[in-house]
Structure formats: structure tokens, C-alpha cells
Amino acid sequence: MNLERLPNEEKLSLCRKYYLGGFALLPFLWLVNVVWFFKEAFVKPPFTEQTLIKTYVKRSALGLSFWVAVLTTWITIYQHYRSQWGEVGDRLSFTIPLGTP
């Protein structure tokens, strides 16, 4: 889909859908939202729906950075301590690399 060819109201509704969808533990929707609507929100000359799009994109970015922070912390901790956790570590793992503690 090309955003250029979409009327502004539909852009807003699309951006809103992505923003709300992100709350269903889908941070990737927020990522898409931020990347996709960044130009519309901050670069394009102003239009009526732009303020709302701006808000959604900002909030999506905020939510996204929260997720990134949480996931990075967790992955670091998990990779670092998995072998020390022993059984818990193994149960938490989907695939266990062969021949490594």
C-alpha cells in the first residue's frame, strides 16, 4: 500500500489502528507505525489530521522504546545467566544449543 495515494482521514484511521493494535503486546506494530508514519507526522506540510497522527506516532515510539528496553534487559540477563539457572534455564529455553552449558 502506498501512503501517498491515501486520503488523510484513512491515514489517520490506519495510524490509529496500528497504535491501538500495539497494546495487544505487539510492539512490532508500533515499530511499523513509527517508521511508516514518521514522514506524515513530522515532515509533511501540516494538515488537519496531522496532530492526531503525531500523537499516535509519538506514543507508539514511547511504547516501542519501553519494549526495547525490557526485551534487551531480559535477553541480556537470560543469555548471561541461563547456564547458572540450571533446570529453570533449560525449561525457559526453546532450543538448547548442543554441547554448551
Binding site: M1, N2, R5, S83, G86, E87, D90, R91, S93, F94, T95, I96, L98, G99, T100, P101
Partner: protein
């Protein structure tokens, strides 16, 4: 059209064929694969991992043939081309060198040990000084002063290498063409000439032995059982095999637990050995000498025990996995305690164990007993009785028996596991009074040469099979002694024992089968047709196998014991395989086992006349109780597991210098980037470059 497509397929196939071939030949041009590669593999127990492993993609190092210990400096410090793949001549395969390599393992890619043609005269044992230190009977609660080999170090030459963990691969190479190629490659490319450093390309070797399991048994068993992953994969298997046993009198084996009125004398030997390398476990002295003796004794007793009505039952037992913390014996005792075995501990009268008996000095055998249980007067009386019987049995034989110092503990033996359950009277027969006579305990040098199993030159394999060597003669004497002692111990008349004699020819054939080649005419006669494929022309590997597999020694002992103690019955093959004498017979299977064997080949043809053997020989699982109880951190039972692996391989090739490799890579990346840039420029200027006057097609979405 049809023909055309047909042609196409043919062309395509030919093309693919040639591509395949040329790929192969390309690989062959680069690599020389090693034919004979025996790795050291990873084993795990409750607390540790031992053995060796490579990385997943194999470890590569520049070859360095170590000439002396001083030469190590090049590998560990001064050499300019680390990591090194060290080729060790066997005299240098010592603990001190191996530990230095282990500590400098960043500069060591791996080690290859060249098997020698002669055994090192100073002795070599990669086992510990105190075998099965923690699973024997002596502990803080039982004879604390004797625990941990405090009074007698059984294996003083033991350097413990087998129980170290190396993070690089270690392979054993036969001294043959492969090693010649390696040496030549080293001489041509890697040798420093006139003090200057060798120039690239250098000869390198790559070893693959990546192990799946890690840390300890609890971890690997847990990972075996996790089925959450997409592709659940087993990472390790418990060491396991079969104990082979046979009572001289048929016992109902279907009914488990206590047998009223039954008193048995256990005559046991161990069935396994090991060495530093997996699948090289000749165990000539440490396993074969004892089990051949017991088999010969069982054979000698066949007629005597059938004629005389003995009031006790002799129970021949061959325990598997004793090297690894008494797997077989601990399992049998465990089964007896839980009424899962045809007899229980109350049925046991006494135990006579045959240990290492192949290297007699002055024809003396030593009767080892447990000083702690002998403090009990009733046990002491029975032990004395057994010793008297053994001494009486030695009368008129070329061997004599003696007792070592009264305070000396029991050497490592299966009997420990019986004593752990309760005090039993028992004797362990060995050829050493204190420390082992065996200089090569649990090593690859514990081979037929060490047992002095020599044949005059120019003998055909058939003649070798039937040749009676001095070793066979000496073991026959020991077997006669054991048979006579067992006969008296079981309640036989002392006056009859002179008629009991072990057969030299049978002993010779057994030694040949275990130590030279199991694929011989005698074994062919007495083996079941379905097992023929297991026979080979090599020294039997006494290393225990893993769960749901049977090792060759257990199979051979089963077949030999059945033939040496059983009788031939006139039963059809079908009935024989269904464990019955005839169609209506449902009782015999509880008392006997029926084995269909190939029989001798007719002299004029290959047709064999099979027959059925009825014997009391039976087998039970030798899997450590720890795996039955799922207690993988057990300190009383063996917890040994063997890691799984995917690829065991070794190859040599020439490597270019690091700079040249980087240059090649750089040029490659450069070419890629240039071509990308060119493509971009061309596609952006496509209108100018390829202006054909066509209307550009409008983009549609």
C-alpha cells in the same frame, strides 16, 4: 517433443553427474581424510564431565610433531603459528605433557596420539590410583581407615588422565599409512629449516568430535527429556549393558524374590574395561583373564555338578560396567533387594570373585578378603572355610594360594556392592598381593602381548585358535583351582575334586576369541546366526555400551557360557526359538533358555548344521539403579552417561597464511561491492544507456 524432453533429462543428469564428480575431486584435492580415527569422547557423572570435545565445525591447527617435552615451548609459547595440532608419539603421552597442553589450550587445537607397536616398559595407566574410590564399601561409616585407598594404593601407576576434561579433541592414530602421510606432510611443510620459521603454506589438521552433552548427567538427562523444542534431540545415554548369569541347577527365573531352601555360592568376574580412547579397551588382564578363568571353571564343573547332588547352587555371574562405579553388580544387588531377581540376598551363601589372574608371579594367587566384615565371628568362620576350600583345591596344582596381610582392605571388586548391602563371606582371587601387578590397568596397552599371548610364527588363524600358549596353561590351572574350590564350597565331596579339570584347549580358544579375533571357526560354531554380524577380526573392545545395546563381550560370554554349561537337545529350530521342547511345553521356558546356534560347517560346503542348546544361562539389565530411580545426583550408584555425537572425523590439508586469506576475502568483498555499485549506476542511468525510444511503463500498485 517427447524425445526432446527426454534428451534434456539425459543432458541434465550428465551435467549434474559431472558437477558432483568435480566437487568431489575438488574436495579430494584439498583434504586427505584419515581412515582410522579413535576419539576420546565425553562421559558425564553426577558432578563432572570428562573426556574431550572439538568445536561444532571441527578444530583446525598447524601440525606439530612433538619430539620431546622441551619441544613443548614452541607449542605453548614461542611458535608463530598457533593454534597447533600436536602429534604425540606414545612415550610422550604422559600426564605432565597432557596437563601442560590442557592449561595452554588457547594455543592447542587438538592432540593426536600415535599408537605404538610396543608397550611402554615403565607402565601406563590413565585410570585413577584408587579405582571406584567412592562407590566401594569403604567409607566414613565402614572401615574409615581403609576408605579412599588410605592403606593400599591399588593402581599406583594411575595418572587419572581418563578422568580429566579436555576442551580440545584428542584422537588416537594407528601407526600406518595415515601417520606416514601426516609425518611426511609435517616434514615437507612445517619443519623449521636452519633455525628459520617455516613458510606458508603449512600443513594443518582438522579434528571433529563435537559432543552434544555437557556439564553433568543431571543436565543431560534433563535435556533428553525436554520435549518442548521443535526437534527434541537426545544428548546422552546412560552406560548400560547386560549381566550374564547362570545357576548350575535350573531355577525358576519367572518367579522373582526369595527362593525357599535355596543357598547359592556366587562365582563372579567382571566383563568390562576401558581406556583413554573410546572403543579401544583390550582389557586383556583387567577383564579377559578373570572371565576366561570363570568360564573355564564353569565348563570344568559341568559334569561334576550334574553327577553329584550338591546342597548349594553355584551361581556364575559376569558383571558388566564394573569399571564405571560397579554398574552391573550394584544393579543386581538392587534387584535382589527389591525382589526383582530370581534369588534374593538371603539366598546367597558366599561369594567367590575372580579378579585379575593373568600375570602370576611364582604361580601364586592371592585371596583378598574384607577385614571389616571378618570381625563378625560367623562371617570369619565362613571366610576361613572358603579359604580352606581354596587351599585344598590348590593341592596337586601348579598354583598356590596365599592370604595377604590381614588388615589390607578388599581390592576394587564387584563384591564391594554385596558388602554394601550386608556382610557376606567372600574371597576375591587376584594375582597381586597388594598393588596391582597390572602395569597398564584400563589402558590401551592392556593387550594380548602384555598377557604374553604369543604364537609361533607361520601359524594359520585356525592353528592359532587351537594353539595352547603358556598363558592358557596358567589360566587353566587357575580355572581348575576355582572349579574345585567352588565344588567343595557348594557341598561336594573333597575326594572327588581330583576329577575336575579345566580344559586347556577351551581356555586357548576363549583367549583367542576375546583377544585376537572373535571371527573364528569355534565362535562361528557356537553363535546364534543372528549375531554373526557382530564378530570381527580385532581384539574385543571391552568398553561397555549404552542403553538398549549389547556389547560384543556380553554376547560372547552368553554364547560361550551356554555352550560350556548347557547340553544339546534334539529340538526343532522353531521350538528352540520359542523357548520350548515341543509344541505343548510351557514349563521349560521358566527353567531354561534355549539358544539356536549355527553349528559346524560341513567340510565340503558352506552349509551349517544348526542345533539347539539348553542351558540355564540368562541375562539381566546392567543399568545403574540411579537411572531406575531417576536420581541423577546419586552418590551411591553409578551415574555415568556417554554423550552423543554426530561426526567423528579427521583430515589434513595445507593452509595459507592469515594475511593471504584476509587478502582473498578482501578482494572478494571488493569485487562484490564494485559489482553492486556498477549495477546501481547502470540501473539509475538505464534511460540513457538503453534508450530504445520505448515509453517507460507507468508504475502500478
Amino acid at each position: 517433443m517427447d524425445l526432446l524432453s527426454h534428451n534434456w533429462i539425459v543432458y541434465l543428469t550428465i551435467c549434474l553427474f559431472f558437477t558432483g564428480v568435480s566437487c568431489n575431486s575438488m574436495e579430494n584435492k584439498i583434504y586427505i581424510n584419515l581412515n582410522y580415527t579413535m576419539p576420546c569422547v565425553r562421559l558425564l557423572n553426577a558432578t563432572h564431565q570428562i573426556g574431550c570435545q572439538s568445536s561444532l565445525s571441527g578444530d583446525v591447527g598447524v601440525l606439530h610433531v612433538l619430539e620431546s617435552e622441551d619441544n613443548l615451548d614452541l607449542v605453548l609459547r614461542s611458535g608463530l603459528h598457533p593454534p597447533y595440532m600436536v602429534i604425540l608419539e606414545t612415550p610422550l603421552f604422559t600426564r605432565s605433557i597432557m596437563m601442560k597442553l590442557k592449561s595452554g589450550s588457547k594455543r592447542v587445537a587438538g592432540v593426536a596420539v600415535v599408537e605404538p607397536s610396543a608397550n611402554p616398559p615403565q607402565g601406563f595407566s590413565p585410570h585413577t590410583k584408587c579405582p571406584n574410590e567412592n562407590t566401594g564399601v569403604y567409607s566414613e561409616n565402614y572401615g574409615p581407615s581403609l576408605a579412599h585407598c588410605n592403606t593400599t594404593e591399588w593402581n599406583p601407576l594411575g595418572n587419572g588422565l581418563s578422568y580429566e576434561d579436555f576442551d580440545f579433541p584428542i584422537f588416537s592414530l594407528k601407526d600406518d599409512n595415515d601417520t606416514q602421510v601426516i609425518r611426511q606432510c609435517y616434514m615437507d611443510h612445517n619443519r623449521a629449516l636452519n633455525g628459520s620459521d617455516p613458510q606458508y603454506p603449512l600443513c594443518a589438521m582438522q579434528l571433529f568430535s563435537h559432543m552434544s552433552a555437557v556439564t553433568n548427567t543431571a543436565t543431560c538427562m534433563r535435556r533428553n527429556s525436554i520435549s518442548f523444542s521443535i526437534s527434541p534431540e537426545m544428548v546422552c545415554d546412560p552406560l548400560s549393558d547386560y549381566n550374564i548369569w547362570a545357576p548350575v541347577k535350573p531355577l525358576n527365573t519367572t518367579e522373582k524374590g526369595h527362593k525357599a531352601g535355596e543357598s547359592v555360592v556366587i562365582a563372579s568376574a567382571r566383563l568390562d574395561s576401558r581406556s583413554f580412547f573410546s572403543d579401544i579397551a583390550p582389557g586383556a588382564e583387567s577383564a579377559a583373564s578373570g572371565l576366561v578363568t570363570l568360564l573355564a571353571a564353569a565348563h570344568a564343573l559341568r559334569n561334576a555338578t550334574q553327577e553329584a547332588q550338591l546342597n548349594r547352587t553355584i551361581f556364575y555371574t559376569f558383571f558388566h560396567g564394573e569399571t564405571f562405579d560397579y554398574i552391573g553388580s550394584s544393579r543386581m544387588v538392587f534387584d535382589m533387594e527389591r525382589n526383582q531377581f530370581p534369588i534374593d540376598l538371603d539366598n546367597i551363601h558366599s561369594v567367590l570373585e575372580i579378579g585379575q589372574v593373568g600375570l602370576l608371579s611364582n604361580s601364586k594367587l592371592w585371596l583378598h578378603t574384607d577385614p571389616v566384615s571378618r570381625r563378625n565371628s560367623s562371617i570369619e568362620e565362613e571366610v576361613k572355610n572358603l579359604i580352606t576350600n581354596l587351599q585344598a583345591a590348590a593341592n596337586g596344582l601348579n598354583v598356590s594360594v596365599e592370604e595377604p596381610a590381614a588388615t589390607q582392605p578388599l581390592p576394587p571388586a564387584s563384591f564391594h556392592r554385596f558388602l554394601l548391602a550386608r556382610p557376606f563371606p567372600g574371597v576375591v582371587i587376584e594375582d597381586h598381593s597388594s598393588s596391582f601387578t597390572n602395569k597398564y590397568y584400563q589402558s590401551m596397552y592392556d593387550n594380548p602381548e602384555y598377557l604374553n599371548l604369543l604364537f609361533p610364527p607361520d601359524l594359520t588363524p585356525e592353528e592359532q585358535l587351537n594353539h595352547i600358549s603358556d598363558t592358557a596353561k596358567s589360566l587353566t590351572e587357575v580355572a581348575t583351582l576355582v572349579a574345585r574350590a567352588l565344588f567343595v564350597q557348594a557341598g561336594g565331596e573333597k575326594s572327588q575334586i581330583s576329577t575336575i579339570k579345566a580344559d586347556e584347549l577351551t581356555v586357548s580358544r576363549m583367549l583367542y576369541s576375546f583377544l585376537i579375533s572373535s571371527n573364528n571357526s569355534w565362535i562361528q560354531e557356537i553363535i546364534s546366526p543372528e549375531h554373526v554380524g557382530h564378530l570381527n577380526n580385532k581384539t574385543t573392545n571391552f568398553y561397555i555400551s549404552v542403553l538398549d545395546q549389547t556389547s560384543l563381550p556380553a554376547l560372547l560370554v552368553k554364547q560361550m557360557l551356554a555352550n560350556l554349561t548347557g547340553i544339546t537337545v534334539n529340538v526343532t529350530e522353531e521350538d528352540c526359538r520359542n523357548q520350548r521342547e515341543n509344541k505343548d511345553d510351557t514349563e521349560s521356558q521358566h527353567l531354561y533358555k534355549y539358544l539356536w546356534v549355527q553349528g559346524a560347517a560341513a567340510p565340503n560346503g558352506t552349509q551349517r548344521e544348526g542345533f539347539c542348546i539348553r542351558s540355564t544361562v540368562s541375562w539381566s539389565k546392567a543399568l545403574s539403579p540411579a537411572f531406575e530411580l531417576e536420581d541423577y545426583t546419586s552418590s551411591i550408584y553409578s551415574t555415568w552417561t556417554e554423550s552423543r555425537w554426530k561426526k567423528i572425523k579427521g583430515r589434513i590439508f595445507l593452509v595459507a597464511s592469515h594475511d593471504l586469506e584476509m587478502l582473498t576475502l578482501g578482494v572478494g568483498i571488493g569485487v562484490l561491492l564494485t559489482s553492486l555499485l556498477l549495477t546501481y549506476i547502470i540501473s539509475s542511468k538505464v534511460d540513457i544507456l538503453f534508450s530504445s525510444g520505448r515509453e517507460p511503463t507507468s508504475a502500478t500498485y
